[in-house]
Symmetry: C3
Subunit: 150 residues, 3 copies
């Protein structure tokens, strides 16, 4: 029933759905902290506030923390999608190697989010970030070496 | 002539091109408002300004509004690309179901941009955002359930 | 051994790996400048600093420059991934046309990064940005015209 029948792609679809679901949930989480702290950036979002409180706030600690976490996700999970897809479709790696790249990445980024939102002591967040980065670089290098079609 | 012959992928290619075209146009729009408000962030962009005006400006309301809209697009349209592609290639959904997911998403995000740039009263922007988010979550859950290859 | 055997996809995998590698390297570069300028945004990152220096800093010129470059990459390289993939898989363009789109984009974005980080005089950075944008719009329009499946 699927257009492409591929075990690797099926693994990829599973892991990437998890990590993207995790990422998109940060949007409503930002919204939650905006309401908690009455910290809105757009005038049209402030109509429920008292007249004197209607000014944009860009320095609410929790709102900005979630936003930084979200941006870091974009900077890492989006490359993972691009590289992970090409790694499944066009690389010489074995299925086992491919799947372990995915597993390490997903666990590392789930841990990164917990460490970021929970403000855990370093190097916990840094470690989550680093493992994700290493997986991305590893996949990129392997795709490059396998294809090398300039 | 296409490498993959698939009706679902052809629908996907159409809708994703529209919504990504819409997104990339926000870059020159930011540039337009930067020139309108003389609000530049890089010293090398200010050579046409008088000496005394050459300082970075990070709080021009329209520039920042377009930038927030652009970031919100990245946070939602990029997941749509990832999930929409996998939804077309590897899910048990019917073509009709797939296409209606795409249609709702594209209309919702076009509306979101109009509401954001035009500063329409809430909940218009929030509604556009919410519909897009629901489409993304719905596709992610269906991909996960169909593949479930851990 | 690859799931999809396609010359276009192999070219795409090569070029997109280069440009995404370039993009993800900006994360550690931001980290480098954060340490150089003691400019951290999270309290948990400041334990090595003296008590009196432990405040978030959001205006370090080099940190903010790299971050703007990184965001501009996301706004342009991510659309390139989406459009470039569909351009390879589902468009009527010849392999030569496809590959030259990729080449122009990759060179333009490498140049954009050098111009941004090095603060080269305009219009160097603007030119790199513009060429990348034109490639993206050109691919989007061709994909739309080839598929046009609404």
């Amino acid at each position: 029933m699927a257009v492409i029948e591929s075990e690797e792609l099926s693994y990829f679809a599973t892991y990437v759905s998890i990590v993207i679901l995790k990422m998109v949930v940060l949007s409503p989480l930002t919204g939650y902290f905006r309401h908690q702290g009455n910290a809105f950036s757009n005038p049209e979002d402030m109509v429920s506030l008292k007249e004197k409180d209607r000014k944009p706030i860009f320095n609410d600690p929790m709102v900005e923390r979630v936003r930084r976490c979200h941006l870091n996700d974009l900077e890492n999970i989006v490359p993972f999608f691009a590289l992970g897809l090409l790694y499944a479709l066009t690389s010489g790696a074995s299925t086992t190697t491919i799947v372990w790249h995915y597993r390490f990445f997903v666990v590392a980024r789930l841990f990164h989010t917990i460490a970021y939102i929970g403000a855990l002591p370093q190097p916990s967040r840094g470690l989550g970030f680093l493992v994700g980065l290493v997986v991305n670089v590893s996949m990129a290098v392997q795709i490059l070496m396998y294809n090398a079609n300039f």
